[in-house]
């Protein structure tokens, strides 16, 4: 009875919010309103997934939507001087820096909402592009996300207002990475629905670093959708760092659509979070495309981290690699559920998947579910999963050289994590992430403490 009750509260709250935004005419233009209405209808039909739903068997999200959550219908944080109050100094990392505050694209003036650089790159606020240059986004917006039933994307599309837009034209060669700081700054419990769209047509490698941060300790639910499209021959590396406090609910939906001979590499590092659910959907729609995904999560106390991946090989001769690792301490829960799907025509597919977990405390929980679904007959696919403790022989070897029990654990945990952090190809970033991972494993990190920002 209790869960039905909560269910209703959450749905009633969301219904009221949807109607309110509709009445306030927040939902222009019409084509977007049309998409939103269909998404919300879809949500009302399917509602929140229950434990019977295989894809949400171990992560129940409806209770997190039933409390009082303020919806920020405009950015309240408009007078920030970035240079003065915000410093995320990864030493010697020169980037195109973009800041999102509570899901809204931060800019000091109207002109700053959209940039076009000399190398042809267009980036800025998704809302601004929607209003000013809808032709840029209409062929892509919500195209990949709507092919898969996902209630989180239904909700995101229903309530999104802004987010990041990036377009990299053919032949564009970006000299520096794009760095996005996705911040939550609120002094009350909030719900946030950022939506991002990235399109690359360039065969020169673009690197995007996306950091999710919270700056104070108010609870929040952030349910973000990211759509990434790689056109023929496009190359993109995407690094996503999640670092928010223990009362945060971080939900991400990452949709990657790849065309002919495109190459996409992604590294996800979840340093900290209360409840985290990362959905990663890959559609390989072109031949000879390559996709590699790496993920690392570090969880202790009562943290709950759930990675869900789905890689679809729809065309022949493509390759995908998934390598995910978790370190779980205290009462933490780590979940990995990954699927490789190979369509009937996708011959000569190479697809690999691996999930390894290190359990530090007896009370930590791990669920790991690798799956293959193959309809082609000439493919190479494998998957595997292993969960274990720190190796006794290695521990003794280190201690026999004078290294304390604690420090020996630290060295071995860091080594376990380094398989993933080594995949970060931007050296100063890799060093910074390694430092954060090291501190995190020592229990010294609550958040990326060089970030400091305040609203005036």
């Amino acid at each position: 009875m209790k869960s039905t009750f909560m269910h209703d509260i959450a749905i009633d709250n969301l219904k009221a919010l949807f109607n309110q935004l509709e009445n306030e005419k927040q939902y222009q233009p019409d084509w977007l309103f049309h998409l939103r209405s269909r998404a919300f209808e879809n949500f009302l039909i399917h509602k929140f997934p229950t434990k019977k739903d295989e894809t949400y068997k171990y992560t129940s999200l409806e209770p997190h939507f039933s409390g009082k959550l303020t919806y920020l219908s405009q950015t309240k944080c408009s007078n920030i001087n970035i240079d003065e109050v915000f410093k995320c100094d990864v030493p010697s990392l020169d980037t195109h820096l973009i800041i999102l505050v509570n899901g809204w694209y931060y800019a000091s003036s109207q002109q700053e909402l959209l940039h076009e650089t000399s190398d042809g790159l267009i980036y800025g606020s998704l809302r601004e592009v929607t209003n000013k240059k809808p032709e840029l986004i209409k062929p892509y917006f919500a195209q990949s996300s709507r092919t898969i039933n996902n209630f989180l994307d239904d909700l995101n599309l229903s309530f999104m207002q802004d987010g990041l837009f990036v377009y990299i034209p053919p032949q564009a060669r970006l000299e520096k990475p794009i760095q996005v700081i996705n911040l939550v700054v609120a002094d009350e419990a909030v719900q946030i629905y950022p939506r991002h769209l990235i399109i690359s047509e360039s065969s020169h490698l673009t690197q995007i670093l996306f950091c999710d941060h919270s700056l104070n300790i108010s609870p929040f639910v952030m349910n973000g959708t990211m759509e990434i499209y790689l056109k023929d021959n496009a190359k993109l590396s995407f690094y996503r760092m999640q670092n928010a406090h223990n009362h945060s609910i971080q939900l991400t939906n990452n949709y990657i659509t790849q065309s002919h001979q495109s190459e996409f590499k992604s590294v996800y590092v979840t340093l900290h979070g209360g409840v985290v659910r990362n959905n990663i959907f890959v559609q390989i729609n072109g031949e000879e495309a390559k996709n590699s995904m790496y993920g690392l999560w570090l969880a202790d106390k009562n943290q709950h981290i759930d990675y869900f991946t789905h890689v679809n090989h729809n065309k022949p001769a493509s390759e995908s690699n998934q390598f995910f690792k978790g370190i779980l301490d205290d009462e933490a829960t780590g979940i990995f559920s990954g699927k490789i799907f190979v369509a009937k025509d996708a011959q000569k597919t190479n697809a690999y998947q691996s999930n390894k977990n290190l359990i530090i405390s007896q009370n930590a929980k791990v669920r790991s579910k690798p799956q293959l679904e193959i309809y082609a007959d000439d493919v190479k696919c494998s998957h595997g999963s292993a969960t274990g403790k720190l190796d006794d022989d290695a521990m003794f070897y280190l201690r026999s050289r004078g290294i304390s029990h604690k420090e020996s654990c630290q060295l071995l945990m860091f080594a376990f994590a380094s398989d993933i952090t080594n995949q970060i190809d931007i050296d100063p970033l890799k060093e910074e992430i390694e430092t954060l991972v090291d501190k995190r494993l020592r229990g010294e990190l609550s958040r990326c403490n060089r970030c400091s920002i305040s609203c005036t």
């Binding site: 003794f396 070897y397 280190l398 026999s400 050289r401 004078g402 290294i403 304390s404 060295l411």
Partner: protein
């Protein structure tokens, strides 16, 4: 330096050491020989603090302290070093960070300030030259992908880095070709001093051609059944262990 009195120990309820008595003084080299299964490696494991061995009686004093009360890392900091028969591969932990952590832990115990990066690298270079270890090995993860010989040389290198008072070398010679054997033995001889001591566990006499022991002990059935000078090793090489076993069974 080390005094072992009537040490008895078992593994999974099976008695392995059945009353070991041994006295090692600073400056001495002791060799322990004996047939397979006689308890040689168990003795090394007990001294280093491996917890799968259960001590049932006896005591071990090291520099006047009860060794058996101490954690493995505390023993190492006091100056016990175990050269492993099977060194462990630890992917992802670099030799440099491993050795730097270990050296600085030991320096802390000796009330010395930690070495900074450049001093540490200099120190490491000196020791590498001393024991003739290939420079490339220290750029890799601990023992990962090392050949059998490289692993054993790496043990000697670590010993040189940590400057122990008592080094226990558990079949360091097994699996070594003659060149590697010479490098290992040279390392030991260079590090030998009046202040430290060696306990060399081996099956074969050939290591003792290079590392000359002061005393040779024969371990059989969990006890030291014979102790004599270095000539005992030659005698064992020639006659095998059967005569020792027969002598022991008569008693």
């Amino acid at each position: 330096m080390l005094t072992i009195k009537n040490l008895k120990a078992q593994i999974n309820g099976k008695p392995i050491l059945k009353g070991i008595n041994l006295e090692i003084k600073a400056g001495e080299v002791h060799a322990i020989m004996g047939p397979n299964g006689s308890g040689k490696s168990t003795l090394a494991a007990v001294l280093a603090g491996r917890d799968y061995v259960e001590i049932t009686s006896g005591e071990v004093l090291f520099m006047g302290q009860n060794l058996l009360d101490l954690a493995p890392e505390e023993r190492a900091r006091m100056g016990i070093f175990l050269g492993f028969q099977y060194p462990v591969e630890i992917p992802g932990v670099s030799m440099v960070s491993f050795m730097r952590t270990a050296v600085n832990e030991i320096r802390k115990y000796r009330n010395l300030p930690p070495l900074n990066s450049s001093d540490f690298l200099k120190y490491m270079r000196e020791k590498k030259e001393l024991v003739e270890i290939d420079t490339q090995l220290t750029h890799r993860s601990v023992n990962e992908g090392f050949s059998g010989g490289e692993k054993k040389k790496n043990e000697i290198f670590q010993m040189a880095m940590l400057e122990p008072k008592l080094a226990i070398l558990d079949e360091t010679d097994s699996g070594l070709d003659i060149d590697a054997l010479r490098i290992v033995a040279n390392g030991v001889n260079k590090l030998k001093s009046p202040d430290n001591a060696y306990l060399v566990i081996t099956h074969y006499q050939r290591l003792l051609d290079y590392i000359i022991p002061d005393v040779v002990h024969v371990l059989y059935d969990g006890r030291i059944v014979k102790s004599a000078g270095k000539e005992l090793a030659l005698e064992l090489e020639e006659k095998g262990y059967d005569w020792i076993k027969r002598e022991y069974q008569k008693i």
